[in-house]
């Protein structure tokens, strides 16, 4: 029956003062407080609300990353998701992972779980990519309602009010679809103590990207710095990009 996949990402908590590592290879993450990406919280809340309104039967929380992401999945379970899926990626692979890999994983899971909706946060507060939702929809060839500030289910269609540069845009898309949550979609609930207790009993399935047919992320090639726009155009012409 009607099932929703919600993506949750474990990120450095929004209130933490970010510090760059001494070797400039990244930011300090060891011992730093992490929590669920705020936009993912909004996505979870929307999914749980849809379930409470009986539009959907089951909410599955999904996260990709090392063991620690199970904490984030448990938080989603405590907010009301029914079960979780942990796609295990660690170490160098995790650092190299980007929206394209995640989208491939989500697309594969959406098909495997026969989801009617995939709800994601519009972007993560660590990389601000704002790509995963859109890429996932493209890979699945599903309609997408991004930057959603209001979601209404109407039979087999979803009415989405989107926050765009010019104001608000209302679209009607058919399910299955991908939605990404924007700030004003809802106010996420605090997990209640009884729900935290119940979350302990809910299942989190464990799998690897390979199990879903998703390959290793490619090594990222180094870039080149140029001084002027003319140099940039010349280089792009030289390597055949334009």
């Amino acid at each position: 029956m009607s099932r929703v996949l919600v993506g949750v990402k474990r990120v450095i908590d929004y209130a933490v003062k970010i510090r760059v590592k001494p070797d400039h290879s990244g930011v300090v993450t060891d011992g730093v407080k992490h929590s669920m990406n705020p936009f993912c919280e909004i996505a979870v809340e929307e999914a749980v609300k849809l379930k409470e309104k009986k539009f959907i039967k089951e909410v599955v929380a999904v996260s990709c990353g090392p063991t620690q992401v199970t904490e984030t999945i448990r938080t989603a379970l405590a907010m009301g998701c029914d079960r979780g899926i942990h796609v295990e990626v660690s170490g160098k692979d995790y650092e190299a992972m980007g929206p394209l890999q995640i989208s491939k994983i989500f697309a594969a899971l959406a098909k495997k779980e026969e989801a009617s909706l995939v709800i994601l946060g519009k972007q993560a507060i660590d990389d601000d990519c704002n790509q995963t939702g859109q890429m996932t929809a493209a890979l699945l060839d599903w309609p997408q309602g991004t930057f959603a500030s209001e979601v209404t289910i109407d039979g087999e269609k979803v009415k989405v009010v989107r926050e765009i540069d010019g104001g608000l845009e209302t679209i009607k898309i058919s399910m299955p679809a991908v939605l990404t949550a924007d700030l004003r979609l809802n106010t996420p609930r605090y997990a209640t103590l009884p729900n935290i207790m119940k979350a302990k009993k809910k299942k989190i399935a464990n799998m690897k990207p390979a199990d879903l047919g998703v390959d290793e992320p490619p090594t990222r090639l180094a870039g080149v710095k140029v001084e002027t726009v003319d140099d940039l155009v010349a280089k792009l012409k030289a390597n055949g990009t334009i």
């Binding site: 448990r74 938080t75 209640t192 103590l193 935290i196 207790m197 979350a199």
Partner: protein, 405 residues
Amino acid sequence: MAALFKAGKALGLCVSGCRSLSSLAELPEMHQMMRQTCRDYADRELGPIAGKLDKEHLFPAQQVRELGAMGVMAVEVPEALGGAGMDYLAYSLAVEEISRGCGSTGCVVSVNNSLYIGPILKFGTQKQKEQWITPFTTGEKVGCFALSEPGNGSDAGAASTLARQEGEEWVLNGTKAWITNSWDASATVIFATTDKSLKHKGISAFLVPMPHPGLSLGKKEDKLGIRATSTANLILEDCKIPLGNMLGSRGSGFKIAMQTLDSGRIGIASQALGIAQAALDCAADYAHKRTAFGAPIGKLQAVQFKLADMAVAVESARLLTWKAAMLKDAKKPFTKEAAMAKLAASEAATFCGHQSIQVLGGMGYVTDMPAERHYRDARITEIYEGTSEIQRLVIAGQLLKEYAS
């Protein structure tokens, strides 16, 4: 042991024995999640309004309802009765985190959980539990605990409030003093003498709804701290209640009070920890930002020593509090440890409140920064639910028993 461990795990309880020491080092996952939820709530919902609640003496009714919905107003109460069904360690963590956001709100949570619901849960009949606990789990209603009188605080055995039986009713007469939550409560657990000749063995406990004919409230006390809570006298003038409103057996009131206070001490210790931690957070943050003599004041040893002493005081009191909670959860004797926790935590709170103002200097003395509120909120923790002096007597008494030949 294995069976107990399995059963405990299934119930999500913190099981004692070989796990307790490691649990002191790192809390079980569920407790960590619960602690994080309460911390998030305190940071987002209580922190921003705590100053206003204190300044205007406002009872945080909406926040209490929200905490009720989260299960924080009845942490230990079984789910069947409407509570969260968690253990005392979870309760201690909840009170600490809530108090860190707002000392007054932490007090309301503690009084409702430990002092009002606590004795009814332990000594009440099933009917009394359904009638007097369930409506008080949601945050819509809070309860209070009336033991102290104008004539006796520490001397609890000398209760002069009287209860005489008249037909199918108890008639109560007397005055209770310093009752926290009084003006906001919908019921009270109250202690009165039923047999004066039996001295402290002649005291009984009763459940009285509020408001009720024959029960009136004195003026709200104008307090130094925890100003968002109401503290007042309860005046009983021929206050009539049904016979079924006696809690526990006749003459067991003193025992009920003492056992309730034992557990309540862990709650107050947790409240004191929250206030102490808030004071430490304030001072440590300021030490990073304020510059003097060309560098942040956190570089000065004088400030560093203060922060270190504050941190040690808080952490050691916290471990004592957790230990007392875990002993209680394991159904082992915990009187001595609870008294030690309350003593250590309350003295840590006043110490941290004091030093926090010192680190902030002039800024610590004005209401723009929360340091002065922590200083004022901390002070009561050394007094209520057993003064520091009484705690020392309790600890010494237990200790000497252990060494008796």
